[in-house]
Symmetry: D2
Subunit: 318 residues, 4 copies
């Protein structure tokens, strides 16, 4: 096993970069082009708030699907586990993140889990607030506290693009309305969902979210508990089984870390009691995961003994 | 958190027993009747070989699907990870364990993972040996070493019943033959699979399998490494995402322990670096998991701080 | 075989009425209640314009899915067969009329045929006109010519109800937008589709549509050809394979008549070169077909030798 | 419209032959190679037993799926419509002929119709007889009477090849056993099914089957009624909705003739009260239909006014 240093991180970045070539940058995101393809950045923050970063860690990308775990935390906070999982399941699904067939195939038309689009829309519909604006404000404030980054902002351009390209999500949402799964206003739920996806974050922001989960819900500096640890246990478990789209099983085996990825090439990793990881690598594979970023996560797990199913770390300690 | 004692285990059994009433005993297993419905037993063995047991821990049931993890270990040992996962995937699947549609729906007709029947048959087809008898002998010997239980035996009756009721598994296997996924003799692969399911085990045996996984592959007394730890990491990760049929997500959230269940009501739990758990509770729910046994696993996780996504244990240590 | 007389029709109505008890009235249609359950009316018009009617033939119901064949005729007229069947398939589908899975399951996300909702929406999107109002006006004028019923009107109430309950159709339409199948404005296509469904017709109107198809496209009195016969051949073939929802195969066997049904309990029958049939019986089965109306259609086919796959009529003539 | 003469048929063959190039010969059939690709033959027999033939009409190919309509006739004869359609549905299915998903997707695991493999196996299982040999003997004798071809024979080579490549059909059959749809011996049902597919026929034989259906069940020379006309009406209706694999809708529109095709490139056409058509053209498309043969059928329908949904013929007569 290797030691976590910035020197090591730089080497890990260099080793992982070549995997970018097998991916493609998601061109639906505004201001995105092929020049982003070779970017790769990482930030790791340990339990004692030590921060390590390397590569293009200063870059900003929209949250995209990484917003799904923030939405889930807020909904759990607002309504508790029972109510949230009346609206959405917690089972992994062997299909693409925007599949609609599953909504039709099963007796219950409840989305399989909160990490697929239908599930995340159903969760967004739960977040409390008197208007879409208020609800999004709560979301953004929560995120600012978690990351202790007061300047977090939503890209209007990304939000508009999400809305303009939102036909599939709209189809999922109206389907859920037709089956009674979604009972609130469909366009409002979608609007909130699109905004959530459009918040811009850098590697440290992503790592802070990971750390928040890893530490059981305490604010970075004040140590205030913002959310009870048992809710975060739920979120991490769902990240492990469903966080990496339909490569989640692959990542459970190869990295063994609760992760959540987004089609902007971002990955949040949360190793309970150890560290938070934030990765950005815009070239994604056909399932939606950053190719270089995914390679980096697997390398970090291997080199630093982060795999939760391994015993290297435990053996070392004995 | 509570302390692990036999007194505690007895209380946990009493608390979990009432859940048996919501399940049903699988009547396809010979010598099985309603009188087994209220049985519930547990054995826990810790890293330092301390053994705790309570309830009907002396009962024997056939392995059924718990055999899938043994088959997977042997195949990984025989062929390595790359070859095994050419034959079978590692993604969780949101469908019943005997689903055939998934084999048809995807470009690759590779079964989703080794925990569903199709996948386990594909894995069984890999296990080396010159005849079905020899291959099964290797399986049984491996199991005897893991459990250090020399008297382990296969029930002819259960084997015959498996074979007689094997139409669905036969359908899965011939489907895989038709797509070129299964290239060896179909009836031989099925025969071995049926035998593997028919090995009779008690709670200690199941717990020993869990401990073997938790300890990274050493034989109980000799401390000989029978299989490299990285293969067991793979097995535990797959148990977490897919081990409890299509309630695996639920168990990842509610227990957070790599588990594998069988329709005989057995459950194997493997907490890396901590302990192995064996449970028997024959009343199963419609997904195939022991109702009382599942309740017990969740209670143990909660009371003893076993949830891998929690930080209670870590916090305690700090 | 029996002779077609009003006396015979009255008896046929009486024989078929009891089947109403096994169906249910579609309560989503405004001004619809259980009192409509026992209604049953029929009008038959032969090639030489003889008109026979019996039962509640004066009742009016909304067209609902019977509008699908009118939309298809107009689109064929506007764009020709090649263009129309670029937008929609012509294969029967073994699934419910509002299924969305099929759109996702196949390489092409083209709806299976124009008789299912997704297909009919795709067809409605083709109908020419500068605005939804103009396009609907063309639809209504075409229908007035076919039926020579100048007073045909659209029920605002039914239209509003269609729109209010339109979540599933909206989901289908946005799905088609997401795959590029639907390239025009989604809400406009839906609006036109909802209006088309809301035109109120009685048994004679429905029979006139059938006759128009049976006679190869001539206006009732002027004998003007409104549409070339080969387009109507296409429509009748699709009615035979897909016109009665996912009971179309059953009706092909038991009646052998090109038919189209609607969830208002209406059925249009078109026997090439022989007659048009219009039936209203609001109690429908779970597939969407009038139970008493369907029984009547089968009885008429049997008694009058209308089954196109039979040779009674041919033998008689020899 | 054109007149039916051998001269016309020769021209029609020449016009259709080029379509062979877009198809491929099914190499699973023994003694089949690329040299067969350009073969195209046709025989038409009218109600008054006039026989017209052209092209390679003397060639012999195995029945393959055209056997499905013979099996259905025998089963209807043996058990009547009610019993047969307890075992198999009569609805067209929008999927490939060997799909297994549909058996799993629906509440009833009854195959959709007798024209898909699962349905035909379920029908074959019904055919009476004390052994597979006796049951096949009945089948062959029935076929000899229909075609008045005493020398009809089964190719052992084709039968053996069917059996050797029968994994998918075996999978379908065991699936049906697992759901209780198939209650007789699976291997026997398959054995009979494979034999039925292996009977060798030429264009005249195929045309005779078509004529038998078109004439309502009379033996060619004796005029003995072998099967009641209402059973043949059922068979022709199912041919129209499901006889051309999942291009049946296309052929209903483009030809409007009850047809059944086989992957040997054979097509049987049956126009009620008019004629039987037999076509052989071994190059098939990816759905299983002869490309040149299908083009020929559509041309014949167009030129000779055979489309049942058209009124050319009727108009001409008036």
């Amino acid at each position: 096993m290797k030691e976590l240093t910035e020197q090591y991180l730089m080497e890990a970045i260099e080793d992982s970069k070549p995997f970018a070539s097998s991916g493609n940058v998601n061109m639906n995101i505004p201001n995105t082009d092929e020049t982003l393809k070779d970017l790769l950045g990482v930030t790791i923050i340990t339990m004692d708030q030590e921060c390590y970063c390397a590569g293009d860690y200063m870059e900003c990308v929209p949250m995209q699907s990484t917003s799904k775990i923030i939405g889930l935390m807020l909904a759990l906070q607002d309504f508790g586990k029972d109510r949230v999982f009346q609206a959405v399941g917690m089972e992994p699904m062997g299909d693409f993140f925007n599949s609609i067939s599953q909504l039709e195939s099963y007796d219950t038309s409840k989305p399989f889990n909160p990490m697929i689009n239908a599930g995340a829309i159903a969760v967004a519909a739960l977040i409390k607030g008197q208007s879409v604006e208020k609800r999004f404000e709560r979301y953004l404030n929560f995120l600012k506290k978690i990351t202790s980054h007061e300047e977090l902002w939503m890209s209007e351009e990304v939000y508009e693009a999400e809305k303009a390209n939102g036909a599939r999500n709209r189809s999922l949402a109206y389907f859920m309305q037709s089956t009674g799964t979604l009972v609130t206003d469909v366009e409002e739920a979608l609007d909130l969902y699109f905004r959530m996806n459009a918040v811009m974050m850098n590697c440290e922001d992503f790592a802070r979210v990971g750390l928040f989960l890893a530490r059981g819900g305490r604010a970075p500096h004040t140590e205030e508990r913002l959310i009870p640890p048992h809710h975060l246990r739920t979120v991490k478990a769902i990240m492990m089984t469903s966080g990496m789209y339909n490569s989640s099983g692959h990542y459970a085996v190869e990295a063994g870390i609760p992760c959540k990825s987004g089609v902007s090439g971002s990955i949040i990793g949360a190793i309970p009691g150890r560290m938070g990881i934030g990765v950005i690598g815009p070239a994604i594979d056909e399932k939606g995961n950053s190719t270089a970023g995914g390679a980096l996560i697997k390398k970090l797990s291997q080199d630093l003994g982060l795999n939760m199913f391994g015993i290297e770390n435990i053996e070392k300690e004995r």
